[in-house]
C-alpha cells in the first residue's frame, strides 16, 4: 500500500534536474531541501546537494541577507556536482527571487509564493516594485505564481492551529508541489513527519495536509502542463544511504576505532562548519567514544594529546580560526610523536571570514602553520562520501607512523550530501595497533626507538617498567631525554621529516582521469573534485587532450606526481584560494602551473571551469612541449 497519489497528467522523462529552493532563513528551506534529497536518493537517483545559508541564525526577515537556499541535482546518471544552472527555482519572497534568479536557465520554471510578494516585502528586499511583474520575467521563464500562504492556511484550517503555526506549514505545501512536479513519492516525507511530529498529532496532521495540498495543487491547476520523471541512476550495486560530509567523517572515525580496536577521545570547541562532527559523535558513546566540549580550541587539542599519551586515539576538529589557535599544540603533538587526527573543515577566511561559506584557503596553514620544522601528513576528502574513507586512512597513517595527521575538509563537502554505498565490514582495511609490553625495569626504557616506518612505540602509562617523560624540548635520539646537542637536533629534525616523507611509499600512486600525457593536466584537491571532474569530462568529450589528477594526499604527495606534471604541456590548478597548491607544486617540481582561482565563498561552476580550461587547452594544442617557458623537469 502506498500513501503517494499518482498523476493523471503527462509525464516527461528527463535525465536530470537541478532545483533550488530559496526563502527566508525562517521558512524551512533546508528541511525542504533535505527531504527532497532523501526522497530522490530513495528513488534511486544520483544526488548532489549544496545548502547555502546566512551566517546569522535569525538574519533580518525578508532581507537579502536573510535568504537561505538549498540546491539539489538529481539525475539518472552519475553526477559529481549539485549543478550550475537551475531548471527550477522556488522562491518564497522577493529577496529570495532577486538574489537567485540569475542562476535559473532561460525557459526554466520559476515557482513563486505570491503571498510573499507585497509592499512590505519589497521594502525589506530593497526592490522598487514587484519583481514578478517585470515583463522580461514572463518572457524569459515559465512563471508559476502560487498563493502558498493562503492555500496552506485553507488546507490546515480544520486543525485549529494559530495563524503563525499554520503559516509554518507552507514549506510542506511547497514540498508537495515540488514533489508533484518531479514525480517524487510522498511516502518518505510522510514517514519523516510521523517520526518528527508524532508527539504533536495536530502539527503532524497539518503538515501532512499541507504536503498533500501542494501535491494536489500541481495535479489540478492548469499552471503545469506536465510533470517530470527522472529515472533511477545506474550506480554500483549495493545498499545505499544518503550521507553528508560531516556525518561521514564521524562514521569513518567510529569505523576506524572498531577496526583498530582503539577507543576514541574527541576534544573540540564548537565552530561552523565543524560542529556537526561533534553532534554526530556524541551519539556514538556506546562505541566507547568520549566527546569533550573544551573551553577553547587550545584546550580541545591539548586534551586530545593527553588522551593520546594515555593510549587512546585522540581526534580534534575545528575550522580555520580554531586551527590557528591549535598551532602550538600541533607542534607539540609532532615532537611527542603521538597519533591523533586534526580535522580542519575549512570556511572562507581570513580571521572569522565567511563562516558559512566554503573556501580552500587553509592549505598553507595545514602545511606550515606551526613554528619550527614540523611537517605533518595532510589528507583531503574529495566528496561527502569520501570523508568516510579519509577518516579511516588518516587513522591508519596516524597509528602506523605515530604522528598527528591533518584532514582538510571544507564547508561544501561538510554540508553537501550524496548517495553512499554502505561498505561491507570485510571491505574495510584492518588497522593494526600495538603497545609495548611491560618490563622488569632493569633496563631504562627507550621511548624514541623506531621501527621500519620510523615510528616510535606507543607505550601506555600504567605499563610497568616503561616509565618515561615526553615534552616539547628537543629529544635525544632513542632515549627521548632532553637534548640541546646541535647534531642531535639536526638528526631528529631530519628523522621526523623523513618519517612523513616515507608515507609516500605506502599510499597508492596518483591516478589520472584520461591519458597520462597530453596538452593539459588539471590538478585539483579537496571539495572541487566534482566540478573539476565534470568539467574535464566535458572537455575531453569535446576532443581535447586534457586529463585530471585529483589529489587526496597533499603531504606527502604520491611519488609519481613529479613525473605526471612533466608529461603535459600545461598544468592547470583550479582552487578556491589564491593559488596555494599551485605554489607547492611550483616550489617542489619547478613546473610553471597556471591557476584558476576563486574566492567568493562559492564552489566553481562546471561552466566556468570548462571555459577557462578549454581556452588553455586551445593554446597548448599548438605548443611544442619545450616551448612556452614551461619547465618540465620533475625532481
Amino acid at each position: 500500500m502506498t500513501a503517494s497519489p499518482t498523476t493523471n497528467k503527462n509525464v516527461q522523462s528527463v535525465s536530470g534536474i537541478t532545483v533550488r529552493l530559496a526563502g527566508d532563513s525562517g521558512d524551512g528551506m533546508q528541511l525542504l531541501g533535505t527531504q527532497l534529497t532523501n526522497t530522490s536518493a530513495l528513488a534511486g537517483n544520483d544526488v548532489a546537494t549544496f545548502p547555502d545559508f546566512p551566517a546569522e541564525i535569525r538574519a533580518p526577515r525578508g532581507t537579502r541577507a536573510g535568504v537561505s537556499g538549498f540546491q539539489v541535482q538529481f539525475a539518472s546518471e552519475e553526477i559529481f556536482t549539485p549543478g550550475d544552472v537551475l531548471d527550477a527555482l522556488v522562491v518564497m519572497n522577493p529577496a529570495a527571487m532577486v538574489t537567485n534568479l540569475s542562476d535559473l536557465r532561460k525557459g526554466g520554471i520559476l515557482i513563486a509564493n505570491e503571498d510573499g510578494f507585497n509592499e512590505k516585502e519589497f521594502k525589506l528586499a530593497k526592490v522598487e516594485s514587484n519583481p514578478l511583474d517585470a515583463s522580461v520575467i514572463e518572457e524569459t521563464y515559465r512563471v508559476v505564481k502560487v498563493a502558498m500562504t493562503k492555500l496552506t492556511r485553507d488546507a490546515v484550517s480544520e486543525f485549529g492551529l494559530g495563524t503563525k503555526l499554520a503559516d509554518r506549514c507552507k514549506n510542506f505545501f511547497a514540498m508537495g508541489l515540488v514533489y508533484w512536479l518531479f514525480g517524487r513519492s510522498l511516502d518518505p516525507t510522510l514517514r519523516f513527519i510521523e517520526a518528527k511530529f508524532g508527539k504533536k498529532p495536530d502539527v503532524a496532521a497539518a503538515n501532512v495536509a499541507a504536503l498533500r495540498a501542494g501535491w494536489a495543487y500541481g495535479e489540478t491547476t492548469e499552471a503545469f502542463g506536465e510533470s517530470y520523471q527522472v529515472n533511477a541512476a545506474e550506480l554500483v550495486p549495493g545498499t545505499y544511504r544518503n550521507i553528508m560530509g560531516n556525518q561521514a567523517i564521524a562514521m569513518g572515525l567510529v569505523a576506524a576505532s572498531k577496526l583498530s580496536g582503539k577507543e576514541m577521545f574527541y576534544g573540540t570547541y564548537p565552530i561552523t562548519p565543524a560542529s556537526d562532527i561533534l553532534h554526530e559523535l556524541t551519539k556514538f558513546k556506546n562505541f566507547g567514544v568520549r566527546t569533550f566540549q573544551a573551553e577553547d580550541e587550545i584546550a580541545a587539542i591539548c586534551s586530545t594529546i593527553g588522551a593520546a599519551f594515555g593510549g587512546t586515539m585522540g581526534v580534534t576538529a575545528s575550522s580555520g580560526p580554531g586551527i590557528a589557535l591549535k598551532g602550538e599544540a600541533m607542534g607539540l603533538g609532532m615532537i611527542l610523536e603521538l597519533p591523533m587526527i586534526i580535522i580542519d573543515v575549512q570556511r572562507g577566511g581570513p580571521s572569522t571570514g565567511l563562516p558559512t561559506k566554503t573556501e580552500q584557503s587553509d592549505l598553507m596553514q595545514a602545511m606550515f602553520g606551526r613554528n619550527g620544522e614540523s611537517p605533518l601528513p595532510v589528507l583531503a576528502p574529495r566528496s561527502p562520501g569520501d570523508c568516510f574513507d579519509i577518516a579511516i586512512e588518516a587513522w591508519r597513517i596516524a597509528t602506523e607512523c605515530m604522528c598527528p595527521v591533518i584532514i582538510l575538509s571544507d564547508g561544501y563537502i561538510a554540508n553537501g550530501s550524496e548517495p553512499w554505498r554502505i561498505p561491507a565490514l570485510s571491505e574495510l582495511p584492518k588497522i593494526r595497533v600495538s603497545h609495548p609490553e611491560g618490563s622488569d625495569g632493569s633496563e631504562a626504557y627507550k621511548p624514541y626507538m623506531r621501527d621500519e616506518n620510523l615510528a616510535r612505540p606507543w607505550a601506555r602509562p600504567g605499563t610497568p617498567g616503561l616509565m618515561h617523560r615526553v615534552g616539547g624540548l628537543e629529544k635525544e635520539d632513542i632515549t627521548g631525554n632532553v637534548s640541546y646537542d646541535p647534531a642531535n637536533h639536526q638528526h631528529m629534525t631530519d628523522t621526523r621529516e623523513a618519517k612523513v616523507a616515507q608515507i609516500a611509499n605506502r599510499i597508492p600512486p596518483q591516478d589520472v582521469f584520461g591519458e597520462t600525457s597530453g596538452d593539459v593536466l588539471v590538478v585539483s584537491w579537496g571539495g572541487t573534485y566534482g566540478s573539476c571532474h565534470t568539467a574535464v569530462d566535458r572537455i575531453q568529450k569535446a576532443g581535447h587532450k586534457v586529463s585530471h589528477a585529483h589529489l587526496r594526499y597533499l603531504n606527502p604527495m604520491p611519488s609519481n606526481i613529479g613525473e605526471l606534471l612533466g608529461s603535459f604541456k600545461k598544468v592547470v590548478v583550479p582552487e578556491l584560494n589564491k593559488g596555494q597548491l599551485r605554489m607547492l607544486l611550483r616550489a617542489e617540481h619547478l613546473v610553471d602551473c597556471l591557476g584558476i582561482n576563486k574566492v567568493q565563498g562559492k564552489p566553481f561552476t562546471v561552466t566556468e571551469l570548462v571555459e577557462q580550461i578549454t581556452e588553455i587547452a586551445e593554446s597548448a594544442k599548438n605548443q611544442t612541449p619545450s616551448a612556452g617557458g614551461v619547465a618540465r623537469s620533475a625532481s
Partner: protein, 336 residues
C-alpha cells in the same frame, strides 16, 4: 596477588640531573613529593606528572614516573584528556603562577569547575622565573621587576580566591620551607577525589628572593602565618592571637582578651565557600596568611567518572556499538 614492593623516595628519582638554580624553593617541593609518593602505595607506573612551561614545569623530568612537559599554561587540558580516558591513573599537574594564572587562566578555571580528579601543585614565586624576572599575576602592586621598572600597576590575583570562585572542591596552601607541612598537605591533596589545588609559596632566590620571607622564615612565620586545622580555632603568634568573624569580615584579636569560643572555628567541609573565600583574602601585612587546607568537600562527582559513566550507560542501554547497524541507520535503498 603479590604484595607491592616497598618503594623509597629514591625510587622516584629519574636519572636526569636537576637543573634548578641552587637554593631554589623547587628542590624542597621535589623532595617532599618523592617522600610522599611512596607512602601512598600507588605504583610508579600508575602515576603521571603533567606540567606546563616554567622553571617549576621541568618537574616531571625529575620523577621516575610517566610524565609530560607540555606547553605554557595548558597542563590542565592535557590532564583532562588523559584522566577522562584513563581514570585508573593518578595524575598530577605541576604549574607556576604565570603558567596557571596568566596564559593558562582559562584552563585553570575550567579544570577546577569540572572537578577532574587530578592533583594540582601551583608553585607560586610571584615572578616569572624561566623568562628571567618579569612580574607575574601574583606579584605585589608596585613591584619593581625587569618589565616594570617603575613598579607593577596590575592588581595581583589570588589563586585560591579564583579557585574558590570556581567552586573547587579541595583548596590548600603550603610553603616550600615548611617541609613537614608541605608533605602533609601534598598527601591530603593526593587523597582527595576531585581536583585538589595546593598553592605552594616557593622562593625564587634569583629573581624574587625573599618575596615571601614573612611566611617562609621560621622567625617570622609564627607571627604572619595561621595554620588551618579542621574543627580548630584560628590561632597564631604562639597562641597569643586569634581570628574572629565579625559581621562579614575577619579581625585579629588577642586570645587573652576574648573567650575561646569567640574565635573562628575552621570548617573545611562547609559546602558554602564564603568563609573559605574570606580566609583566602587574608593577606600580609594586614593579616596573617592561612596555610593548610582551606576547603575539602567530598562526594562531588568528578568529570572523569561522569564521562565514563555516560559511556557505560550508553553501552548498557543501547548495547555495544554495532557498525553494520550504524551504517544502515536511516533510510537506505538497494541498487541491483
Amino acid at each position: 596477588m603479590s604484595s607491592l614492593p616497598v618503594l623509597k623516595a629514591a625510587d622516584f628519582a629519574s636519572d636526569q640531573d636537576v637543573r634548578w638554580c641552587p637554593g631554589c624553593g623547587d628542590y624542597s617541593i621535589l623532595a617532599q613529593m618523592k617522600k610522599v609518593l611512596p607512602e601512598l602505595g600507588v605504583p610508579r607506573e600508575k602515576i603521571v606528572f603533567i606540567s606546563g612551561i616554567g622553571c617549576s614545569s621541568r618537574f616531571p623530568y625529575y620523577m621516575n614516573t610517566y610524565g609530560m612537559h607540555s606547553i605554557h599554561g595548558r597542563a590542565p587540558a592535557f590532564a583532562t584528556g588523559l584522566k577522562s580516558t584513563r581514570p585508573d591513573l593518578m595524575v598530577w599537574v605541576i604549574t607556576g603562577d604565570g603558567d596557571a594564572l596568566s596564559i593558562g587562566g582559562n584552563h585553570f578555571i575550567h579544570m577546577l569547575r569540572r572537578n577532574i580528579d587530578v592533583n594540582v601543585v601551583l608553585f607560586n614565586n610571584r615572578i616569572y622565573g624561566l623568562t628571567k624576572g618579569q612580574y607575574s599575576p601574583t606579584s605585589r602592586e608596585g613591584q619593581i621587576t625587569k618589565s616594570t621598572p617603575m613598579g607593577s600597576i596590575d592588581h595581583p590575583l589570588s589563586p585560591l580566591s579564583l579557585a574558590l570562585a570556581a567552586e573547587a572542591t579541595f583548596v590548600a596552601r603550603s610553603i616550600d620551607a615548611h617541609v613537614k607541612h608541605l608533605g602533609q598537605t601534598l598527601a591530603r591533596a593526593a587523597a582527595h577525589k576531585g581536583t585538589s589545588l595546593v598553592e605552594v609559596y616557593q622562593n625564587c632566590n634569583v629573581f624574587n628572593d625573599g618575596a615571601m620571607a614573612y611566611a617562609q622564615e621560621k622567625k617570622q612565620r609564627d607571627d604572619n602565618v595561621v595554620e588551618l586545622e579542621h574543627g580548630k580555632p584560628l590561632i597564631f603568634a604562639k597562641g597569643t592571637k586569634g581570628i574572629r568573624l565579625v559581621g562579614n569580615h575577619l579581625e585579629i584579636v588577642n586570645t587573652a582578651d576574648v573567650p575561646a569560643d569567640d574565635l573562628l572555628i575552621h570548617d573545611e567541609k562547609s559546602p558554602n565557600p564564603s568563609i573559605h573565600m574570606m580566609l583566602a583574602r587574608m593577606s600580609y601585612p594586614e593579616m596573617p596568611e592561612p596555610i593548610g587546607v582551606f576547603r575539602a568537600v567530598e562526594n562531588v562527582e568528578t568529570y572523569d567518572d561522569q564521562i565514563n559513566a555516560q559511556v557505560d550507560l550508553a553501552r548498557s542501554t543501547k548495547g555495544e556499538g554495532d557498525l553494520e547497524a550504524l551504517f544502515a541507520s536511516g533510510d537506505t535503498w538497494t541498487v541491483q
